[in-house]
């Protein structure tokens, strides 16, 4: 997996996997399985709210600039 692929699809793949675990675990059992499913479905919700809610998005250009500033 190269860096560009990871940067583009890393988070979507991780969130997809976590969602799938959340959907399945509550089908399998109760108690701890239910809690695992709340975590699994809660993570995409939390990530969305955090990304949509933060004031200044860390745009790629900005992070490049920051990195360049650190080097210089």
């Amino acid at each position: 997996m190269n860096a560009a692929f990871r940067r583009l699809w890393g988070w979507p793949l991780l969130l997809g996997l976590v969602t799938a675990i959340g959907l399945i675990s509550a089908l399998v059992g109760d108690g701890a399985y239910d809690m695992l499913s709340w975590l699994g479905l809660g993570m995409p919700v939390a990530v969305s709210l955090w990304c949509a809610g933060r004031k200044k998005p860390a745009s790629h250009e900005a992070s490049l600039k920051r990195r360049a500033a650190k080097k210089g």
């Binding site: 560009a4 988070w11 969130l15 969602t19 089908l27 239910d34 479905l41 790629h60």
Partner: protein, 393 residues
């Protein structure tokens, strides 16, 4: 990604979305309160509640339960005897003018311990009923279901094509970027991409299981034609029994045939779920997964004799497992709340998609404005101009 490839996927995404968006908005909006239908019913006082009694209070005979319910509906025939999945303190007995009738059913709730009538809940009126009918079949029965199923298939196409388009639009951005300093179009595109990709797996699962649910009636009909007809061949030339044997005894036969299972519901003879000669007694397991998997036990309703315990075919198993994954009712209240939030996110994805389409005529194409990464063959400016026009139309 090549500009011609993007054009093709953009075309698929545009038309599949446009065709289904209005119906998907309707499904998301009506589905939202349906996630909490039990809680809402509780608040409205329409939920049946049986008095508290010790858990080991002996159960009344099902014959007495049926008798008590029938006394409230003397002119109708019983179709089903059922209960809530998480409450065995009372039974619902459903009546209609004819065993096969689908509409105009009456329900009587009977205490499972005392065989006293608790309530006659009305499941076919009120706001929740209207929302449910809009959600399930647009008040158009089977054609309505199949139409919504088709819209669901288009939604799945829109989700897949949208995921493909995520790549060129997000190649230059970090995950979760929402650019607010540019145009509102770019902001809503970023939100569309963010919420779309984050809800991807959930939306695919809820969409697919919803589509499967629209085929439930057809699957049942096919099952009856395919398997039950073979099983019931010996009864072909017999008249249906004039008097039905003891329901309680038939239920005990079914319990003896499937000792590790508990009762889900009973279909009386002549309904869509049974045969004219049989009680179909549907037994279920009691783990979260197996409680969805029901196994019909056919008991001869004339002689109260076990005919067969039937394994459900794979397509009905798929249907039954797909139902909780559509309803979100299998992981307690926190899951229902998360289900509702994911539903709201989907509404935002649909709404922002519609907004982006309405705002498509702008001096600059969205691809340009959002700095999507497109490979143009030979890098010609003319090719870029073509694409801009195409994606704007």
């Amino acid at each position: 990604m090549k500009s011609s490839t993007i054009k093709t996927w953009a075309w698929i995404h545009k038309w599949s979305s446009l065709a289904c968006t209005v119906f998907m908005l309707l499904l998301c909006l009506t589905g939202l309160p349906l996630i909490f239908h039990h809680e809402i019913g509780h608040l409205l006082g329409t939920e049946v509640e049986a008095p508290e009694m010790p858990a080991d209070t002996p159960r009344a005979s099902l014959d007495r339960v049926l008798e008590a319910a029938q006394a409230r509906q003397p002119d109708k025939v019983p179709q089903f005897l059922s209960r809530e999945i998480d409450d065995d303190s009372f039974w619902y007995v459903t009546f209609a003018d004819h065993p096969l009738a689908q509409g105009d059913t009456k329900t009587v709730a009977v205490d499972a311990r005392t065989a006293k009538v608790l309530a006659e809940p009305k499941f076919d009126e009120g706001l929740m009923y209207i929302l449910l009918k809009l959600h399930v079949d647009l008040f158009a029965n089977l054609p309505g279901k199949l139409f919504l199923g088709l819209m669901g298939v288009l939604l799945l196409v829109a989700i897949v094509s949208g995921t493909v388009l995520y790549a060129p639009f997000m190649r230059r951005q970090d995950f979760g970027t929402v650019r607010r300093n540019n145009s509102p179009r770019v902001k809503w595109l970023d939100l569309h991409n963010l919420l779309g990709i984050v809800t991807l797996v959930w939306a695919m699962v809820v969409g697919t299981t919803g589509v499967i649910n629209t085929w439930a009636d057809l699957m049942l009909k096919y099952w009856q034609h395919d398997q039950l007809s073979t099983l019931l061949a010996p009864y072909k030339n017999q008249a249906p029994p004039e008097r039905y044997a003891s329901l309680q005894h038939s239920y005990e036969l079914a319990r003896a045939a499937e000792p590790s299972k508990t009762l889900s519901f009973i279909a009386f003879p002549g309904t869509a779920f049974s045969s004219p000669h049989h009680y179909a007694i549907f037994m279920r397991g009691d783990t979260p997964l197996t409680s969805r998997l029901i196994k019909p036990v056919l008991v001869d309703a004339g002689e109260s004799k076990l005919t067969a315990s039937v394994d459900l075919p794979w397509y009905l198993t798929a249907l039954l497992v797909s139902q909780p994954l559509h309803f979100g009712d299998y992981g307690g209240m926190p899951m229902q709340i998360l289900w509702a939030l994911l539903d709201v996110f989907t509404i935002i994805v649909l709404g922002s998609g519609l907004y982006l389409w309405l705002k498509r005529r702008q001096p600059r194409s969205l691809i340009e404005e959002a700095e999507a990464v497109v490979d143009f063959p030979s890098g010609s400016a003319a090719a870029q101009g073509d694409l801009s026009k195409e994606s704007a139309s």
